[in-house]
């Protein structure tokens, strides 16, 4: 237990330990390791799930950029990263920074409210926003815009040019609260006297933001970006329930492609390749974000982080 082992550390302990980790090992081996290995295996095959398996070499992977639909999916994933991660993070930072300098009370209530979208079942979010983004009808976004004298009848989710952006805006709604709450707690660590001193020294709002708030929230920014980026790469449910990739393939995303290929088009190899690519991208993004935001002194052993699951 301590130092080089207390006088009672025994082999028996290790034996019991092995028994205790056995269930975990079994579960992980059967449902994580084995499937992962299988997925990689499938990715090099042409297979429809029932018939014979033939080798596909690397074609499933090269299809990622050769195939126009897959390319679209990746592009859309990129757009989603902007809307899931970058915009909410930025907005959250600005909002938290604005709040930062003013003594506040009763923030708990706000926190509970802002975080609410995160705990709503994703299908529910999709349904409600489908309603709100309908071309016409009471209470919709169009109705609100029209209150100001416009005459808008856009089918936000049904129109090729606006569908992806609309999904992005739903994503902002979803993730803003997460970022805001995160930065709020981080900002409460920053002593108001820092801002007061900066004021006295003649700092502008920009200065305060970029020279005090942002650097001190480095860690939180990293967390926010990681959680949201990883979530955006895996956004299946929201897209499926809101547009199902449509209209046409205007909102196709990698997650959807996996489902279609594997369970509707009988292209298991292709689906697996996309899945593996997603896994790699997730890993890469996590590492990159971590490295970018670690204060220059600390770039040593990289350890891995939490990701939320939206299955």
């Amino acid at each position: 237990m301590t130092g080089d082992g207390a006088a009672s550390d025994t082999v028996a302990d290790r034996g019991i330990g092995m028994l205790l980790i056995l269930p975990a090992v079994a579960l992980l081996a059967i449902f994580i390791i084995y499937p992962l290995v299988k997925a990689v295996g499938y990715s090099f095959l042409n297979w429809d799930g029932v018939g014979p398996k033939t080798s596909a070499g690397l074609s499933n992977y090269t299809a990622l950029w050769k195939n126009s639909v897959e390319r679209s999916a990746l592009e859309h994933a990129g757009i989603l990263i902007v809307f899931f991660a970058i915009i909410p993070t930025f907005l959250g930072l600005v909002a938290a920074a604005l709040i930062a300098r003013i003594p506040r009370k009763g923030l708990v209530v706000y926190r509970v409210i802002y975080f609410l979208p995160q705990v709503l079942v994703t299908v529910v979010v999709a349904i409600v926003w489908t309603w709100l983004l309908a071309p016409s009808g009471g209470g919709t976004v169009n109705a609100i815009i029209n209150l100001f004298g416009f005459h808008v009848h856009t089918a936000w989710l049904g129109d090729f040019s606006t569908a992806m952006i609309s999904l992005g805006l739903i994503a902002v709604w979803l993730d803003f609260g997460l970022c805001f709450v995160l930065f709020l707690s981080g900002v409460q660590r920053i002593s108001p006297s820092l801002y007061e001193a900066a004021r006295v020294d003649g700092a502008s709002l920009f200065d305060e933001f970029f020279r005090i708030t942002v650097p001190m929230l480095r860690r939180e920014i990293g967390v926010a970006l990681t959680i949201t980026t990883v979530a955006s790469l895996q956004s299946f449910t929201l897209i499926y329930a809101a547009t199902n990739g449509g209209p046409g393939n205007a909102t196709i995303v990698p997650g959807l492609l996996v489902y279609r290929d594997a369970f509707q088009l009988g292209a298991v190899g292709s689906a697996s390749a996309i899945g593996v690519a997603l896994a790699l991208l997730t890993f890469i993004f996590t590492v990159v974000i971590r490295m970018l935001l670690e204060p220059p002194g600390n770039r040593r052993r990289m350890r891995l982080r939490l990701r939320p699951r939206r299955a």
Binding site: M1, T2, R14, I16, G17, L20, I21, P23, A24, V25, L28, I30, I32, Y34, K38, A39, A95, L98, R101, I102, Y110, V112, I113, Y114, F115, L116, V119, V121, T122, V123, V124, I127, V128, L132, S136, G137, G139, F176, G177, F180, L182, S185, E196, T226, F236, T237, P254, G255, Y259, V268, S272, G275, L278, F283, L304, R305, L306, P308, R310, A311
Partner: protein, 273 residues
């Protein structure tokens, strides 16, 4: 020190953000309270206050079954992962059996893996185990993922227990079991609560897995049920809204009760490295 403009400006921002956040939710509730027969297909705030849509969704809409299925799945995953992960994390930290490091590494990979890469092999694996269309198909894969997260999470929690506490208990005469029961588990209870809240949210919200492994409507979870319900009732905001509220309610309730756990949990996990 701070100008009025700043104070009111801040308040305005906070309120505006709250309004934008709550608007869709208010719209949802408002729709759910529409009478199901009225077949309303747009949002009229507080137009009616009928519970008929809920009755409809619950009975004719089979949401009662869906809720039960989801509850079974979620509780199954929760119980299995809480026990397996806590015990394994304890072992890794205090008993250090062979393979501890490898196990931890696998856990980190395990909960970082997107479902999309696992879903296809899961399907074929569960098919060959003859588990499709049953509860185990829903429970086991998610239990594995939750165990991966859980071991990561609880290991931190066990490691955070001060060494001196463990030593004090040793000197007081505690056996391994006493230590676990009287010192370690009480110390990690908050972490366990947070982990449970998060696993509950993720599991209840599961979509891709149930979509793929359940083709029998009797076994649909509430997420899948809601999705098919949407197909059939897209023009009946009352019915659809009620179904949605039913689906969302349990997690929201758990959230409201334990929101501190929830929020700190989602973040803390990302800074523990």
């Amino acid at each position: 020190m701070f100008t009025r403009t700043e104070r009111y400006g801040t308040l305005f921002i906070l309120l505006a953000a709250a309004a934008i956040t709550l608007y869709p939710i208010v719209a949802l509730i408002s729709a759910a309270l529409e009478s199901v027969k009225a077949n309303v297909n747009s949002i009229n705030f507080w137009h009616s206050l009928s519970l008929s849509s809920f009755k409809y969704a619950w009975n004719a809409g089979d949401f009662s079954q869906y809720m039960v299925n989801t509850a079974i799945m979620t509780i199954g995953v929760l119980v299995i992962s809480a026990i397996v992960a806590t015990v394994a994390a304890y072992a890794i930290v205090h008993l250090r059996p062979f393979g501890s490091r490898l196990l931890f590494f696998v856990c980190v990979i395990g909960f970082m893996l997107p479902v999309e890469v696992l879903i296809t092999p899961w399907y074929y694996e569960l098919r060959s185990m003859n588990l499709l269309n049953g509860y185990w198909a829903l429970i086991l894969p998610q239990a594995a993922q939750s165990v991966a997260f859980g071991i990561f999470w609880m290991r931190s929690a066990f490691m955070a227990v001060p060494e001196s506490l463990v030593e004090a208990a040793t000197l007081d005469g505690a056996s391994r079991w006493h230590m676990f029961r009287f010192v370690l588990v009480p110390s990690v209870k908050p972490a366990l609560k947070t982990m449970s809240a998060l696993v509950f949210l993720w599991t209840w919200n599961a979509f891709l897995l149930p979509l793929v492994v359940e083709s029998n409507p009797n076994r649909y979870t509430v997420t899948i049920g809601l999705s098919t319900f949407q197909g059939a009732h897209f023009a009946n905001y009352g019915a659809l809204g009620a179904g949605a509220v039913l689906a969302a309610l349990p997690v929201v309730l758990v959230y409201l009760i334990s929101q501190r756990s929830f929020i700190s949990g989602m973040f803390a996990g990302s800074t523990v490295g």
